[in-house]
């Protein structure tokens, strides 16, 4: 569509252009052709004349009734006043225009009229002449040649000077400057006439016909309270010719007083201003008269004595230089070259443009600022992102965040170190979290996973994983629910720590602990050695004696077989008794892995008492057992628990070495405690525990016995702690000490 439009538009424009080309010549061809000859007495490019000609021509060409041909002759009569030149010039003009029918002559200025009057060539006879002069006083009236109309402007000398004196009230002298040409002289004469009225007000000094250098020198060193009134300088006293504004410019550059003048051509050449004649206006005025003449109407003389076409024009720079305030200017004054002239002329436009610019600038800066702020925020965000990503990515542990749907939102790269799987693999396959867990531990994990999702509370769980390379690693998993500021569930934030080493160390420590426990047990058994020897000796002795007796009975004449049978029964019993002792010792000494089973503590206590009873070679020692018959079983390792009881019994026995035999008494008690735990206590009547030793009782290698290892109580505490119980000791009010331990009761809900 667009190309089509474009073609249509182009075609239309072409057509319009062609139409105008056709129409214009036709229209102009229809209007009568008028030849206008402009005669000007000075050189060609005098500013006043240029303005005049422009005003004149534009007025004529604005009319559609005629077509015009303009002929302009700048005759340079005043610079070349020689009669022979004038003769030759007239001859030239006659020759030049002999073949042309001139329809109208505009004769500017008096020298032109004088020139025409002198020669009045035949060729121009009958051609209407419009005489033009700047001021009525500069044209002869009646004119030296017959004219169709006289048009004059007015040089408002009085008005201008009056104005100047109003601006400079303290001026005492007015220096009137004029050149040496005849026109300069004529103007000066007019000025003298016009300014006569000021003579009693100021001193008028005429600087007329001076060479330009002297003129410049004079005007640059004028006394105070002076004023320059520039008339015209077309030729100076030394015969040098000027365009008058040119001369003025030379003077004004160095003049030390304000300069006023008469024509708008001088503005911008250093004058302050004045009530100035405008040559373009005069040209237009002459143009209108010319049109009326050409149209055959009565032109009438157009003279301006009021200077109503003159305008108050001022140079703002000069006003400022000479301290003339703009407020004192006549209303309607045209102040040019104002520093803020643009402001004055286009205030609202400027305001508008500036406002628009300002708003634009404001918007742009706001945008820039906003952009910078955005950039800064972006930068800060990037920094924060980088910071927190660094914090997260450089963790040692395997950190991750699962969304409520179970998909990962974040997995730290450290997962690769622990699992061998890259974090991307967890994103691609979220079930990998579960798959790496070894099958035996998955049930635990599932339970935890469900809890953490449903209950939304933080938990920990330990499990093993199989890494990509097939190794087993222990993981300690901690997690917390994530909620946003509105309290909405955002998933689970979890941290997986590789605790393989710790776990191995724990296992090793447990192994060591078991080893130590075992060694301590053997030491305990060693302490019991005499007792155990006795325990075995008794049945052995009995067996031996019985057997010997039986032999003797049998070798008798009439053996009593019933007696022998009884003896054999006793032998079997004693053997069983010895066997039982050995079984007990082996049970204590045997190195077996830790077992968890239901242990009836009362049995363990009874057996321990049996082991210790004969070991207590303390005379008079009595061991009293007060056992709770309804004691619930506990979970644990029977041998280790018996070891503890044994330790406490031996400990109590040892404490009573210095007690008198009659009061050596050990009371061992078992009792239920608030249904949840059981307590075993061993009360002795020994020397009690030194207050200072109380804290260190259960520390390894602490002993008060000369031959003690200091491991018994320490190992006991380790065992009881491993069973989830507590162990302690206190002095009895009646003397001696009580050692006790508690264990959680087996509620029977565990296998």
């Amino acid at each position: 569509m667009r190309p089509t439009n474009h073609i249509i538009t182009s075609a239309a424009l072409l057509f319009l252009g062609w139409w105008f080309l056709l129409i214009s010549p036709e229209a102009s061809a229809s209007a009568p052709r008028e030849r206008i000859l402009l005669l000007f007495p000075y050189e060609s490019n005098v500013p006043g004349f240029i303005n005049f000609e422009a005003g004149f021509r534009s007025t004529l060409t604005a009319s559609k009734d005629f077509q015009f041909e303009f002929y302009v002759e700048c005759m340079d009569l005043t610079r070349f006043p020689d009669q022979r030149y004038h003769d030759k010039l007239m001859e030239l003009l006659r020759e030049k225009y002999s073949g042309l029918k001139i329809d109208l002559i505009v004769a500017a200025m008096r020298p032109t009229l004088d020139f025409l009057a002198q020669y009045s060539p035949e060729s121009f006879r009958g051609v209407p002449v419009i005489a033009y002069g700047q001021d009525p006083g500069l044209l002869l009236n009646p004119p030296p040649v017959p004219v169709a109309a006289m048009v004059t402007g007015r040089l408002d000398m009085e008005g201008t000077l009056a104005l100047a004196l109003r601006f400079h009230p303290d001026v005492r002298r007015v220096f009137v400057v004029a050149g040496a040409s005849s026109y300069d002289q004529a103007l000066e004469a007019a000025a003298k006439e016009a300014l006569r009225g000021f003579e009693n007000q100021v001193e008028l000094v005429y600087l007329t016909g001076l060479p330009i250098d002297e003129l410049i020198q004079r005007t640059s060193s004028l006394p105070e309270h002076s004023l320059l009134f520039y008339i015209a300088v077309f030729r100076d006293g030394s015969g040098r010719t000027f365009k008058s504004p040119q001369a003025l410019a030379l003077i004004s550059k160095q003049a030390n007083a304000p300069i006023y003048s008469l024509s708008d051509t001088y503005i911008d050449s250093g004058i302050v201003g004045g009530h100035l004649i405008s040559h373009s206006v005069q040209g237009a005025k002459v143009g209108q008269v010319a049109l009326r003449i050409l149209a055959g109407k009565k032109p009438g003389n157009l003279e301006s004595s009021e200077g109503s076409e003159n305008r108050y024009i001022f140079d703002a720079r000069q006003l400022k230089r000479w301290g003339v305030r703009e407020e004192s200017l006549p209303p309607g004054s045209d102040v040019r070259y104002r520093e803020f002239s643009l402001w004055a002329a286009y205030r609202w436009q400027i305001v508008g443009v500036v406002s628009v610019l300002f708003i634009q600038a404001f918007l742009i800066s706001a945008l820039v600022l906003s952009l910078r702020k955005q950039r800064r925020i972006d930068g800060a965000l990037r920094d924060a992102e980088a910071k927190y990503r660094t914090v997260a990515d450089f963790t040692h542990d395997w950190e991750y965040w699962l969304a409520p749907d179970g998909n990962p939102r974040y997995v730290s790269p450290s997962c690769e170190r622990i699992t061998g799987y890259a974090y991307r693999e967890f994103f691609e396959n979220p079930s990998l979290f579960r798959e790496v867990i070894v099958p035996e531990d998955r049930e635990d994990w599932d339970g935890h996973d469900l809890d953490s999702r449903m209950e939304r509370c933080s938990r920990g769980v330990q499990f093993r994983i199989r890494t990509r390379s097939g190794n087993i690693r222990w993981i300690e998993h901690m997690c917390r629910p994530v909620t946003n500021e509105r309290g909405e569930f955002q998933g689970v934030r979890a941290s997986n720590r590789d605790i393989t080493e710790r776990k191995n160390a724990e296992l090793e420590a447990q192994l060591h602990r078991e080893e130590l426990t075992h060694v301590t047990r053997i030491v305990t058994v060693g302490e019991l050695a005499t007792s155990l020897a006795h325990e075995i000796n008794q049945p052995l002795t009995a067996i031996r004696c019985n057997a010997e007796a039986a032999q003797r009975f049998l070798s008798g004449a009439a053996p009593d077989l019933d007696e022998v049978r009884t003896i054999l029964d006793d032998i079997i019993q004693d053997d069983a008794r010895a066997g039982e002792v050995i079984r007990r010792i082996r049970a204590l000494v045997k190195k077996e892995p830790l077992r968890r089973e239901a242990v009836v503590l009362n049995d363990a206590v009874r057996e321990s008492i049996a082991l210790v009873r004969n070991a207590s070679f303390l005379a008079g020692l009595s061991i009293v057992a007060e056992l709770d018959t309804e004691l619930p079983p506990v979970q644990g390792d029977r041998v280790q628990l018996q070891q503890v009881v044994l330790n406490l019994l031996l400990n109590g026995t040892a404490a009573m070495r210095d007690t008198s035999p009659d009061s050596r008494k050990l009371v061992i008690t078992t009792a239920k405690q608030d249904g949840r735990s059981v307590m075993v206590s061993v009360k002795d009547s020994g020397t009690g525990i030194d207050k200072n030793d109380m804290d260190r009782l259960f520390e390894p290698f602490f002993t008060t016995k000369a031959d003690g290892l200091g491991m018994g109580l320490s190992i006991s505490r380790t065992i009881i702690k491993a069973h989830g119980g507590t162990i302690g000791a206190e002095n009895n009010p009646e003397g001696g000490a009580t050692f006790y331990f508690t264990l959680p009761a087996d509620r029977g809900d565990q296998p």
């Binding site: 005499t530 007792s531 020897a533 006795h534 000796n537 008794q538 049945p539 052995l540 002795t541 009995a542 067996i543 031996r544 004696c545 019985n546 010997e548 007796a549 039986a550 032999q551 003797r552 009975f553 008798g556 007696e563 003896i567 006793d570 019993q573 004693d574 008794r577 004969n614 070679f617 005379a619 008079g620 009595s622």
Partner: protein, 208 residues
């Protein structure tokens, strides 16, 4: 003079050991009395018969060694044989000092025990017999008048009748009568016999 059959006393708190010992001793034809504690033994009324005592060292309440001390105090002079399951040297030294004749470690050979017991019983039998003789002599001595005891004492010093008569301020004839009565009462066949009896009874002149 009729010999009493010796009795072996056994004290042990372990019933099966006690029973087996009793059987063993009985099989060797000893009369056996068993006690499960020292106190029980102390309460027992002993026959006047020779014997020996087998004591377990380690017993509750009263140990074998303590019992030994108490028996010394009571003048019950059985030879004591200790048996122990876990004897120590200080323990055995203490026991031997207190007069134990042996210290046996359990388990022991039956022969050892029986030998020791036999020896102990034999020793005790002699002692018991000597004791019994002395007791009889003392009973006889009780029948003497103070004058006869005096005469006996002086005779035991080897003094002649004449010297004794002089010392006592009486006649030689009277002394002869006393002397004959003493010899009769003390069942002495000769002067030498009389001197030996006086010796046994511990009657000695306080020196001429």
């Amino acid at each position: 003079m009729k010999d009493e059959k010796p009795v072996v006393y056994v004290v042990d708190d372990d019933p099966s050991v006690l029973k087996s010992l009793e059987r063993l001793l009985r099989s060797a034809s000893f009369d056996v009395e068993t006690f499960s504690s020292a106190l029980e033994f102390l309460d027992f009324h002993h026959r006047d018969a020779p014997g020996c005592l087998i004591l377990d060292v380690k017993m509750p309440e009263l140990s074998g060694l303590e019992l030994q001390e108490r028996l010394t105090g009571r003048d019950i002079a059985f030879p004591v044989i200790f048996i122990t399951g876990h004897g120590t040297i200080p323990m055995s030294v203490q026991a031997m000092k207190a007069g134990a004749i042996d210290f046996l470690q359990k388990p022991f050979l039956d022969k050892d025990l029986l030998d020791i017991v036999s020896r102990a019983v034999a020793t005790n039998l002699q002692e018991w017999q000597a004791q019994r003789e002395l007791r009889k002599l003392r009973e006889r001595l009780e029948t003497l008048t103070p004058r006869e005891v005096e005469v006996l004492r002086l005779v035991a010093t080897g003094m002649l009748n004449k010297q004794i008569a002089f010392d006592l301020g009486t006649s030689e004839k009277t002394i002869k009568v006393h002397r004959a009565r003493v010899m009769e009462k003390l069942n002495a066949a000769s002067l030498a016999d009389l001197v030996r009896v006086a010796d046994k009874l511990g009657i000695r002149s306080s020196g001429g």
